[in-house]
């Protein structure tokens, strides 16, 4: 087990009005590992991710980066701690090219104008570093890219910023077989490069293919967080659907952990 988690959450509560979405959630992410975050629809995966990303403020609980307690109140705070989130809809601008998208909101300037040459160079270097060789030109409009290429650009955008933790929200949901394999390989490569990767997925094949660790949410509670090698496909499905599997998971479906 790696010594300190790079990101650790303890006792996270989050409510929207009268609805409590997250109950006392604990979550740890380690560098160089892919942590899969699984759970049924409505289990609180997206809410947890948005809390990590600073989009939703947490009601209670502690947030640690490399063991240090921190306060994250906005996406900027999260980005400042090296947390980048790639959302399912990718949030790319179709009418801008790859470089413009990768630098959106953080453009390099030389004097008053944009420093296009530096940005192109950095974008190309990042894509090369991810062994991405499938785009014809980094000046291509994003609208002309395939689904897998768009996902790649979104991921490259997230790792451009010396980020330490990259959270991917269902990166393969809309992709075909070959493109899914390509994106999963990229996910694995990010972790091998030393990043902490959180992969949200509904696809157990994907989860078992790339993850080192699996965290299962059930009705807003963290049912279990285990090494992938210590758990079977069937157990994970049980954890997702009922919150427990044998000795694992929540003991009474709505209460304390084992």
């Amino acid at each position: 087990m790696t010594a300190t988690p790079i990101l650790e959450l303890r006792g996270i509560d989050k409510s929207f009005g009268p609805v409590q979405v997250l109950h006392d959630v604990a979550f740890s992410v380690y560098p160089g590992e892919v942590t899969a975050l699984v759970g049924d629809n409505g289990a609180g995966k997206s809410t947890l991710v948005k809390c990590i990303g600073g989009i939703h403020p947490i009601d209670a609980g502690e947030y640690f980066i490399e063991g240090e307690p921190v306060h994250v109140h906005s996406p900027r705070d999260a980005a400042g701690y090296g947390v980048e989130i790639v959302y399912q809809d990718l949030a790319l601008c179709d009418n801008l090219d790859i470089v413009q998208n990768m630098f959106l909101g953080r453009e390099r300037k030389s004097g008053l104008v944009l420093d296009e040459a530096t940005m192109e160079e950095m974008a190309a270097k990042t894509l090369d570093g991810l062994s991405v060789r499938t785009v014809q030109s980094i000046r291509q409009l994003v609208s002309s890219l395939s689904g897998g290429q768009r996902q790649t650009v979104a991921i490259a955008k997230a790792v451009l910023w010396n980020s330490k933790i990259v959270i991917l929200d269902e990166p393969t949901a809309a992709l075909g077989v070959a493109q899914t394999a390509q994106v999963l390989e990229l996910v694995r490569r990010l972790a091998d490069n030393g990043l902490a990767v959180v992969l949200i997925s509904h696809n157990m094949n994907d989860v078992f293919a790339v993850s080192d660790r699996i965290a299962a949410l059930y009705l807003g509670r963290m049912a279990a967080q285990l090494k992938t090698s210590d758990i079977t496909h069937a157990q994970i499905v049980e954890l997702i659907t009922s919150g427990r599997s044998g000795d694992l998971g929540l003991q009474n479906g709505n209460g304390a952990k084992a």
């Binding site: 601008c93 009418n95 014809q136 002309s144 290429q149």
Partner: protein, 350 residues
């Protein structure tokens, strides 16, 4: 999972290397995808047609100057409208903002010497016109930025309200002495090396904001917001704040347009700007700026402004009743957008 190139290798070619990505390649790619080419072709065809149809009459210095002067104010308005439309917005109120700014500065001028007022008054009048335009634009921008009211409605309301305020202030009559003689003889009729100051001013505005749109963070954010506002917000761009700036810029340029109008015609022309919005929007769209946002350029708008201007002058020169201009511009507008759509579809397929 290792043969990752197999899926997309066909598109990229085997062992697809990144093509040269020097700055020059980037620029040439950008030029290649510019949508102005078609509109420029239409403009050149029109110029060629009128030059042949009226040899020696159309393509004279006088006509070129006249066309440029006629186009100058619309060009300044069009530059602002290009930014607004690229954010997927619209501003119907520009004619009314122009009138309101003209009336505000005109009233000040009337009470500080009228036509005989001095340079100090002229300077204050210009500042008033710019401030009124900017403030009105910023107000509309703030309302658009709330996201609760469509820009079409905000600026439709603004169109009525600004014109109404101008009419209240003047009783609906164009006041005499709204422009100083100094202003008229300098900016209005004056020339710099044979080029009217109005044209010089419009050209300067065009170049400056063309560069702002194409090469700065402000321009990039304008495109990003029009392309995908949610993505822009996630990227940390203050979308609301940027929209206020864009509509304020439109207001500022409408205020500048009022100064140009007063210097050129000497009167506020309260009733004379009701179709400015449609003319300017037509020019911007002719120039290839997408009403759906995210695409467009100031260069395209320049071409788009000149098409109606060339048509007007050209039809007069060849002796056709000039009302045909409206028919022709309408037809050209529809054709230009059609061609652009076809081109875009084929590009996205490819």
């Amino acid at each position: 999972m290792t043969a990752q190139d197999s899926a997309t290798g066909a598109a990229a070619g085997p062992a697809a290397q990144m093509p040269p990505r020097a700055g020059l390649a980037g620029w040439s790619a950008r030029i290649a995808r510019m949508s102005e080419t078609w509109t420029l072709a239409i403009l050149l065809v029109l110029v060629a047609f009128f030059s042949i149809a009226a040899p020696g009459k159309f393509f004279t210095t006088y006509d070129i100057t006249q066309i440029a002067v006629n186009a100058a104010i619309y060009l300044v308005l069009g530059v602002g409208m290009t930014f607004v439309i690229i954010t997927a917005g619209i501003d119907l109120s520009i004619g009314s903002i122009l009138v309101l700014a003209a009336v505000a500065s005109g009233e000040y001028n009337i009470h500080h010497g009228g036509a005989a007022s001095g340079w100090g008054t002229v300077a204050v009048c210009v500042l008033i016109a710019l401030a009124v335009g900017t403030a009105w634009g910023a107000l509309q921008g703030a309302l658009v930025a709330t996201g609760k009211i469509p820009a079409l409605i905000v600026t439709l309301g603004g169109l009525g309200a600004a014109l109404g305020l101008a009419e209240i202030a003047t009783g609906g009559q164009d006041p005499a002495g709204a422009a100083s003689d100094h202003l008229q003889s300098s900016l209005g009729y004056g020339k710099l090396l044979g080029v009217p100051w109005l044209v010089v001013l419009a050209a300067a505005v065009t170049v400056v904001f063309g560069l702002v749109l194409a090469g700065t963070r402000f321009g990039n954010y304008t495109f990003a917001i029009g392309s995908n506002p949610a993505a822009a917000r996630r990227a940390g761009i203050g979308v609301g704040r940027h929209l206020v700036k864009v509509y304020a810029l439109m207001g500022l340029l409408a205020g500048l347009g009022s100064v140009m109008w007063l210097s050129s015609y000497g009167t506020t022309s309260i009733a004379g700007h009701s179709t400015d919005n449609l003319k300017v929007i037509t020019a911007v769209v002719l120039g290839g700026t997408s009403l759906f946002g995210g695409r467009g350029s100031v260069l395209g708008t320049v071409i788009g402004v000149f098409i109606p201007a060339v048509l007007t002058t050209g039809l007069i020169v060849i002796g056709v009743q000039q009302y045909w201009q409206d028919v022709a511009v309408g037809a050209v507008l529809v054709a230009a957008v059609y061609i652009d759509q076809m081109r875009r579809q084929s590009r996205e397929r490819g």
